[in-house]
Amino acid sequence: MSLRPGAGRAGRASGGLRWTSLRLRLVAVFALVALTAAVSVSGIAYWLNRDAVLTRAQNSALNDFRDSLQRNAASLPVAPTCESLEKAADQIGGPDTYQVVLIDTAPDGSPCAAPSDRDVFTLDDVPASLQRAVNTPHKNDDNRYHLHWERISLQGHPYLVAGARINRDGPTGYMLKSLDAERKDLNSLAWSLGIATLLALIGAALLAQAAGSAVLRPVRRLGEAAQRLGEGHLDTRLKVTGTDELAEMSRTFNSAAEALETRVEELSAREAASRRFVADMSHELRTPLTAITAVTDVLEDEAEALDPMIAPAVRLVVSETRRLNELVETLMEVTRFDAGTAKLRVDEVDVADMIMACMDARAWLDSVELDAPRGLLATLDPRRLDVIMANLIGNALKHGGSPVRVTLRREGEQIVVAVSDHGPGIPEGVLPHVFDRFYKADASRARSEGSGLGLSIARENAHIHGGDITAANSPSGGAVFTLRLPVRPAEDDPDDPDGPDRPHGGAGSPA
């Protein structure tokens, strides 16, 4: 019993770490929900933003390029020279906006490529697919230039490339616009969204923790209360706060505990009443029994002289009166044990002498083998040792078989008395019950076998000494009852005036 609270704490501690713990599950679920929501929201926001930013930058660049191309193309001669093309390219493009390459066939038939900045943008940078699209003539078209574009990556930097043919068979113009600024914007957006997601996750975890605590604290309180209740503190109640399901649960617990307490009180009151009844009854029986017993000797002595018809009746009355006496005495002993009023009256005695005297008084010396070294002194209640030995040996003689053997040994601070017989032994199913009250191994056994309290009383007498009796079957057959008693009783009973201190009282301590 005393170990249980510690075990409970250990159980709770390990429970907090288990993967199936409610708190962990709550945190995981909250985190998952937060992650899903944050990732999808950020993802959508990012993609929408990205699209909007890129489209805007692209459209403005393309419109500007188209207008500029249109403007400058008009000023070009029909068959422009390379120089005039270069001039036009410089006019269209610029280092601040975009780079331009104009391509045409010179009047002398040689191809001419005029870049606005030869180091940054040449025709080689234009993807072949875009060139093909630009060079593909459009049959059903008006005067407008067809502008084709593509996004490419040059040396790790994003660019927009666009191209168009000026007039039919005119020069071809390409532009290259860096999208670095947009990428930077988008990157910082992505970072912001990532950080926001992370914050959302942390927030979710904290929320889950808080929610878990809010739910789990009452649950833990309930668990602790249930444990206390199980340990027998029937007055355990929970404080009910709020009106939620947990409060409802606490209320249910309280009413269950109250019902239990009432029930247990009722039962123990009833049990106490029945015990008191037995105690009172056996006490009341004693007065008439004392009067009857006082005259049994007279009757017994006179039985010889009585009518042979009456003598057996008188003898029966005498013997049954004695048995009734014993029964009442036993009952009173039991009630004393139940009420906890049984007391030890210890004296230092030679255990072997005590056992010998016990057997001698009952004329058992011839039927029992005694192996007990004299001089083994123990501080115990002689009357209680006598009750124990009389019950153990009597039981062995009655139910076991001869020879009954009694051995006395000292083991450390204990005296050990073993009573073994050579009977059939005790069936395994009966073994745990041999010390139960009114338990009889054989239901058909008549009441003449004893009160059914003998072994139970023997064990109570051993317990009150701080000892015990155990029953077992010997490997060689027969039952063995082993009595263990401390050589001197534990000296922790200051209330007992006849306690172990008494022999040491010395100078007139018992006033």
């Binding site: 008439p288 004392t290 009067a291 006082a294 005259v295 000797d297 007279v298 009357r383 040491h504 018992p510």
Partner: protein, 228 residues
């Protein structure tokens, strides 16, 4: 104290009183019975019995009080009739001056044996005397004097002192004393010895709480010493 022992039985229950009167008479005692403590004390003065068998639970003045009142003037043996052996009754009864006790229900044979054992304590057993400091025990006259003054000892106290004085300086266990003085069997109640030693100390020691004559021997019992 010769011839038929004359007993006074004080017991309030009619049936028990009648039964015990019958049983004890059958055992060869002359019995006079009283139903209350007051009647008992009156009969004690009028009839001078050899021994009193006294029930503890009495209406009016109870057995302990009867016991204490008798002890003020008389040293005759008292045997208590009590309900249970481990009751506080036994201790209180022995402290009030009872010599022995029996537990109800009691067989007349057992009670008879106790009565005879108590009565035997008053019999003289030898004719010498011994001195222990101021205490002089005259075994012939069965008297004990302290500084020349006669001490009023009950037969049980006297027998206990005699048994101890027979083996001066030697420790006697409670069980030994129970056999020698009370003639009890192996289940004798050692509280009888302790109570009697306390009463004896109160009478013979100068300071009963620090005895110099009857010494307690730890874990054994008691010993009579000659004071240095």
């Amino acid at each position: 104290m010769c011839g038929v022992p004359f007993l006074l039985l004080i017991e309030d229950d009619d049936a028990i009183r009648t039964g015990l009167e019958l049983g004890l008479s059958r055992q060869g005692h002359r019995v006079v019975a009283a139903a209350t403590g007051e009647d008992g004390l009156r009969l004690l003065k009028e009839q001078r019995p050899d021994l009193i068998v006294l029930d503890v639970m009495l209406p009016g003045i109870d057995g302990f009080e009867v016991c204490r009142r008798i002890r003020r003037t008389d040293q005759l043996p008292i045997i208590l009739l009590t309900a249970r052996s481990d009751d506080i009754d036994v201790v209180v009864g022995l402290e009030s001056g009872a010599d022995d006790y029996v537990i109800k229900p009691v067989q007349p044979r057992v009670l008879d044996a106790r009565i005879r054992a108590v009565l035997r304590r008053g019999e003289r057993d030898s004719t010498d005397s011994a001195a222990f400091g101021p205490i002089v025990i005259d075994r012939n006259a069965m008297t004990v004097t302290k500084d020349g003054q006669d001490l009023q000892l009950t037969p049980t106290e006297l027998r206990l002192l005699l048994e101890l004085s027979r083996r001066p300086g030697q420790a006697l266990s409670r069980q030994q004393l129970l056999r020698l003085v009370w003639e009890h069997d192996y289940l004798g109640d050692s509280r009888l010895v302790d109570a009697c030693v306390q009463r004896l100390r109160a009478k013979i020691e100068d300071v009963p709480s620090s005895p110099t004559l009857i010494r307690t021997v730890r874990g054994v019992g008691y010993r009579l010493d000659t004071p240095q």
